[in-house]
Subunit: 130 residues, 2 copies
Amino acid sequence: MIVNGEHKAYRINDKIYHCGTSVTMGFIGGKWKCVVLWYLRNGALRFSELRRLSPYITEKMLSIQLKSLEKDGLVARTSYGEKAPFRVYYNLTSFGETLIPVIKALTDWGIALATNKGEMIDVDGSEAGG
Amino acid sequence: MIVNGEHKAYRINDKIYHCGTSVTMGFIGGKWKCVVLWYLRNGALRFSELRRLSPYITEKMLSIQLKSLEKDGLVARTSYGEKAPFRVYYNLTSFGETLIPVIKALTDWGIALATNKGEMIDVDGSEAGG
DNA sequence: CCGTATCCTAAAAGATACTG
DNA sequence: CAGTATCTTTTAGGATACGG
């Protein structure tokens, strides 16, 4: 970013960002974070529920993303039970909720494009047996 | 994405996306595409102008991103001159312009966070020399 | 001026098996 | 149920040199 002819940047928690877009992408970039945040927009979900809603994310990736989102303060984790099987819920923090309008803009644009220029298809052989 | 208990997906130009967010991220994901699109929001810019505005992108990466944005129909390339030095301008297409409100949402969120929780710093020794 | 070509590293993501 | 651990593949990104 250039301000009055000088190169400037933002520093947040010792990370350097060269423009506002990069800041946001640092929080929601990658393949899965937006997806997870979007699924949490209506309330807490369990690990297994997120897995079912997003069947193409592996357990490992979901775990990594949730940890990262928690570390960034976007998501909170609550665990119930003394021993397995545990019940673990994830929900947006108030900070995380501030991202929902942003992700809604992303999602709406994608759905509009898919509606106009794409088509909806079945996956996982859900045609069979139906 | 799950519709009536069945897994569905979008297909756009033979690419498969499992939710609306993923569609948009396919177009603007990565480190640089949003940045480039954002700089083009007010009109055409030359390759070298984009380089100056975004000094941390290498020529190779800028070239790759512009090619990709052009292929996706978000950006148009216009070249003037018979032989070197050429003048090459990049501008948003009308399709690309539909992304500007989305990227504005991203950018505004990042700037708001930087303003509240971060600080602006000088880079490249621009302090030296006054 | 506007890029390509080549080589390289690092980060992201995926497959699979396993555990308290 | 809610994850870890390990290994492998894929993709993104960067450094540098060169070309029309």
